[in-house]
Amino acid sequence: MAEYELDCMGEACPLPLMKAEKKIKDLASGDVLIVHIDHSCAMKNVPEWARSQGHNVEVDEVDDGEWDVIIEKA
């Protein structure tokens, strides 16, 4: 079960989601993708999108205004 990281720090609204969408295609089922974000919009729309696709999602607030969105591919 591989773990991939995606650094989206300092990126504006749609970019973290678009990058995550692209990257998740490379993952096999059961792999984990960790997206590092510091934009609060992405903190909402990335998990929402991932859940709508059927993946398990966890959001971890590492610091004030920084989050790790942990997506496990279904």
Binding site: S52, G54, V57
Partner: protein, 233 residues
């Protein structure tokens, strides 16, 4: 499947990074709140009470916008980029509620013989609206926020939105300067339609809510189509 139980995600590498101790921002929040209350009282005392109320409304709107992550920009951009329409539907719900609310206010004034407030906002429908809409749409997607979103994110501390705010002001001033030209050449000959004049008070509300309802259903179908297809891969 749209809904999945949120089972905890198994991680191969356990989290070993130590968390930086977060400094509490609560004292700053208290100070800012007191400053806003003081500003509200001073405005009410030295200007008039409605200015103080505007400050309160503004602060409350900003708080709600920030906590709910409501975003007008995302409502129009996401259907094109990711296919998600949850914010589009939220904006439509907001429109429906304000339609009912404003009709109530206007009808109340009309029925009691007073001047109807807000009639200056019944603007002619013309190509100026289209041009402005296209420009604003492009701008807001690039800037990452519309008017309310930009102000809200300036409050959150995003540097990009501070830059957007500067150009927001410049753009508004430029628009105000050119408004004369637009008025003369594009807007003056365009019709000014106030729906209750055409359909009656009840008719206007019903028709507007019906249109909003149809848009809501369309947004829902769009999302199912755009996101649903991926589930079947």
């Amino acid at each position: 499947m749209a809904e999945t139980a949120n089972a905890p995600v198994r991680r191969s590498i356990p989290r070993t990074t130590t968390r930086k101790k977060k400094k509490s921002q609560l004292p700053i929040a208290m100070i800012v709140l007191l400053l806003m209350i003081a500003a509200g009282i001073l405005l009410s005392a030295f200007k008039d009470s409605s200015t103080g109320m505007f400050l309160m409304f503004g602060g409350v709107f900003g708080f709600i916008l920030q906590k709910s992550r409501f975003c007008f920009t995302a409502s129009l951009r996401d259907p094109c980029i990711t296919g998600s329409t949850s914010l589009t539907k939220a904006v439509l719900v907001a429109f429906a509620l304000t339609t009912i609310g404003f009709t109530a206010i206007k009808y109340n004034a009309f029925a009691s013989g007073q001047a109807i407030p807000g009639m200056s906002y019944v603007q002619p429908i013309s190509l100026a609206t289209v041009a402005g809409g296209v420009m604003f749409g492009v701008g807001m997607v690039i800037a990452g926020g519309c008017a309310s979103g930009t102000l809200m994110r300036v409050g959150e501390g995003f540097h990009m939105q501070v830059l957007a705010l500067v150009f927001f002001v410049i753009g508004s001033l430029w628009g105000a300067k050119d408004m004369g030209w637009w008025n003369l050449n594009v807007i003056a000959d365009s019709p000014r339609v106030f729906l209750p004049d055409v359909f009656g008070w009840l008719g206007a509300v019903v028709i507007q809510l019906l249109i909003i309802g149809c848009l809501y259903v369309a947004a829902d179908l769009w999302e199912r189509k755009k996101l649903g297809i991926k589930d079947e891969e």
